[in-house]
Symmetry: C2
Subunit: 117 residues, 2 copies
């Protein structure tokens, strides 16, 4: 059964933006399929603003979150496999969901936990 | 902050149907705003098949799940407030999400738990 995590990422992204807050994702660095400029990793993790206003051509499908964003003044294409997403949350208040997602399998959505950070 | 539960109900409903399974909801009977034919309550709870194939005019908005369905051969309009939904799951394998949703407040989405029943 394909994983539920992409569906949950979309749900939380919509919920956060409908509340006029800013969706951020915490991403496991060095994940297979991750495409991101160098220099953003911190302790094996990367934090990305995926809000509609900070990105262009944002697409969250069942495989990945992809968008264009400006880094050091230059537009770059970012690809984040859904299985690399550790959590999605509103930057303003931390409300969101933590995924128990080790990147090994994408069918562990049943073990996700929503939380207030 | 409006609750995340309607967003999660939509996410799980889509995920379950994309996997060719049948979404069911477990609903707290006697909830305010619940509109359902008599005789389906069992121990204070009601189980409903909300699949596209078992319903007509299904709509899941931020307030309620509404649809038409046949009961005893007669089409009837059903309205289930999102805050009355205790869980959504695939009937075939029980995968889904349990909501820690007491019907008191709709902003408790951060305490939801996904589980395998």
């Amino acid at each position: 059964m394909p994983g539920v995590i992409p569906y949950l990422i979309r749900a939380y992204c919509n919920w956060i933006e409908d509340n006029n807050l800013t969706p951020y994702v915490l991403v496991r660095a060095k994940s297979k399929g991750l495409s991101i400029p160098d220099g953003f990793e911190n302790n094996g993790k990367i934090v990305l603003n995926i809000s509609a206003s900070a990105t262009a051509d944002r697409l969250i499908n069942n495989e990945s979150i992809s968008f264009k964003a400006r880094f050091h003044g230059k537009s770059q294409k970012i690809i984040v496999p859904c299985e690399a997403v550790m959590s999605i949350y509103a930057n303003e208040n931390g409300e969101g969901m933590l995924f128990d997602n080790k990147g090994i399998s994408s069918d562990k959505g049943d073990k996700n936990q929503a939380l207030r950070y």
